[in-house]
Amino acid sequence: MTAEAPPPTPRLRLRGMRRSFGAVRAVRDVDLDVAPGSVHALLGENGAGKSTLMNIVYGIHRRDAGSIAVDGRDLDVASPADAIAAGLAMVHQHHMLVPSLTVAETVALATGSRRPTWNRRAAASRVRELSERLRLDIGPNARIQDLSLAGRQRVEILTAVHRDARLLILDEPTAILAPSEVDPFFELLRRMAADGRSIILITHRMREVFAVCDTISVMRKGELVFTAATADTTPAEVLGHVVTSAPRKAPAVAASRAPGAVALEVDGLEAPGAAGTTGLAGCSLTVRSGEIVGVAGVEGNGQGDLVAILAGVAAPSAGAIRLAGEPVRGRARRDQLTVVPEDRHHEGLVLELSVAENLVLDHLGDFTRGGLLRRRALAEHARRQIEEFAIVTPGPAAPLRSMSGGNQQKVVLARALGSRPAVLVASQATRGLDPGAAGAVLDKIREARDHGTGVLYIGSDLDEVLDVADRVVVLYGGRVVGESVEPKADRARIAAWMVGGREDGAA
């Protein structure tokens, strides 16, 4: 609870906020005060309700109950337009910008004027003016679709300042920043706070909270459980409120055996990459059986192309892949290499099909006779997998759509590991999963490693990658630029490689 005297009229006051999605109570009776001119952290694990709460404030979701007051005035927010009119702005994780517009057009659109025409020159000069004042380095004629993720984020902030937003809500803004870009970003936040604006920073990264925020509020399973000024508390105390259940099992035990023979060789892969990404520019790495190789790197440096090529859905323009010494073109056999793709809904699963059908989609031949499906064998197989991977589902015929994210990911994993592959490629395997499910997935991956599978683990959360991997390589600009066999000890070096910088972390 707040330890100091109550602040002057809060920029934002929430009382009794409630919101449920079906049976799930995403936000329960939340009270929150945000002071003017402060940076206020909203901290919590994945699924704690932070984004939902702020989406309600911004008018994207409707609230079931509760009141919102901005600068003392009650607010009824039915849509983002209302929130914007009240001086709020929100920068989402998945940027809410129109790709084909230029920065100037985006700003002009944000003005909200109803005049029939818009003035190109005025918009452009406004962009230049704001960009200079906030040191954002954005030109008015750049198209949103050509900007990097960090660039797009800066455009959103610029738009918010253009509208003179008094309260900015930032949802996981550092997720797309390289470690060395984070400090300049925080300086920007402090400058805006000094202007009198309030900033709510939604995050799950403790370290950053203590670096830039004045106040911390912790959410856990939909409830606001703790609020304190940063100066009055410690990371340990805050962590105690963030984490719920019994602390995670003891840190992962290192592989019990030394890694074996080379199972996967990626040799000089080149790929053009989609517009705006680096593609691959001579990427080489190896994975031995019985080891987990972590791939660290900021999103967009070739990870997607690497996974697509390994999965056999894209072809490299140069380079080769060898599995146990043999070159492989296109799709590898199931016993050689399987993939847990980055986006389980679009790439991993067909949600409208059943659990049983999804589990065998890549080897239907084993369950077919004379063109007809052997349905009993299919169901049997599914039941076995469900048990082995502890998948929570009514049965093999249940549609995947009704299952939780964690269980869906278990299906993907069960299918990938079911063939006891020599190599497993796991891309963002724990994305969007609550800590319990994420832990289960990582445990299974480690178990596979202990049974001899070589794992290529690609993730965007550096700390998670460092925790899981036996060895870490860093992908930057489409190439492997560094490797560490003592990942946890080398965090600083790895962070520096991630932006192509020198060892001491200078950009």
Partner: protein, 308 residues
């Protein structure tokens, strides 16, 4: 007549291209705002029918033209309610909508115009030579001796371009079509923008249908007279990549294909069957579609209802 280089041929091209151009300009706006209008066929047919009906009742072709425009606007509003507000699937609803319009227009024609539907006097829409300009050799006859309606249609090309790139409405349209969720999160009234854009589209397509029957087809309405022109306009919009000036070029090409029907016999006699001339515009559209359809990516949210 002068054959394929003659004034008559090219003047026909300019005239025949007008309805398709008009409908396509309307659809360009609609697709820019994210709406894919299978119902365009229904707008044109409804406009065609209404224009001839009113033209026959009042004896005034111009009144018919405006009636066609109004009918199109009404149909556009209905369609917009369905796809924008009720979030009905745009393809499914379009098929049903076109069926209903086809049924209604045929029904009304047979009920009220048993003996046939012909506007008695279309002189008010007759070609009007622009003084001075129409004296220019060749070009004068081709470009400046058209029905006044045709002039208006061609003037709409720069107007549409201006609307798209310079007006606030155009900016909101493009935002609604390329990033509806983002635009909505920025406070743009996406639903309202799409609704009014569809109403305008309906009006333009209704007018296009009216021009088709009043100016081109001699003021006669027959069941299903549009027979696929709406889909041609749809295709044209897309392979012109939603750019009004390219739509103009495409429309002229189709106009040429149409005009060939009339002078084709004169040029090649019996060597090429008439049915093949009828096929020509659609074949042309197909070829254009094959080679132009994946150049510039279009508005990302075409056909996607805003679920919020």
């Amino acid at each position: 007549m002068g054959g394929i280089l003659g004034i008559y041929f090219w003047s026909s091209v300019v005239g025949l291209a007008a309805p398709l151009l008009l409908a396509s300009l309307g659809e360009t706006l609609a697709q820019r705002s994210g709406l894919f209008t299978i119902g365009i066929e229904g707008f044109m047919l409804g406009g065609a029918f209404t224009s001839v009906a009113v033209g026959v009742w009042t004896g005034n072709a111009v009144a018919g033209l405006f009636a066609g425009l109004a009918a199109g606007a009404v149909l556009g509003a209905v369609y917009a309610l369905l796809v924008v507000y009720a979030r009905a699937d745009q393809v499914v609803v379009g098929i049903g909508f076109n069926l209903v319009v086809l049924g209604l227009t045929s029904l009304f024609r047979r009920t009220w115009f048993e003996g046939g539907m012909t506007v008695p006097d279309q002189s008010s829409l007759a070609a009007w030579d622009i003084p001075g300009l129409s004296q220019i050799p060749w070009i004068g006859g081709v470009l400046f001796s058209q029905s006044p309606v045709v002039y208006v249609v061609y003037l709409l090309v720069p107007v549409t371009s201006w609307v798209l790139w310079r007006s606030r409405w155009g900016l909101e349209m493009r935002a609604a079509g390329d990033g509806a969720i983002a635009a909505s999160a920025q406070g743009i009234p996406v639903l309202s923008v799409r609704f009014w854009t569809m109403v305008v589209n309906g009006a333009l397509c209704g007018a296009a249908g009216a021009i088709l029957v009043l100016v081109e087809a001699g003021g006669v309405f027959a069941d299903n007279i549009t027979s696929g022109r709406g889909y041609l306009a749809l295709a044209l919009t897309m392979f012109a990549r939603w750019l009004p000036w390219r739509v103009l070029v495409g429309a002229l090409v189709f106009g040429a294909a149409d005009a060939l029907q009339y002078i084709g016999q004169a040029i090649v006699g019996d060597a090429i069957a008439p049915a093949l001339f009828l096929m020509a515009p659609y074949l042309l559209a197909l070829v254009a579609w094959l080679f132009m359809s994946n150049k510039v990516p279009g508005p990302r949210d075409i056909g996607v209802p805003l679920l919020r």
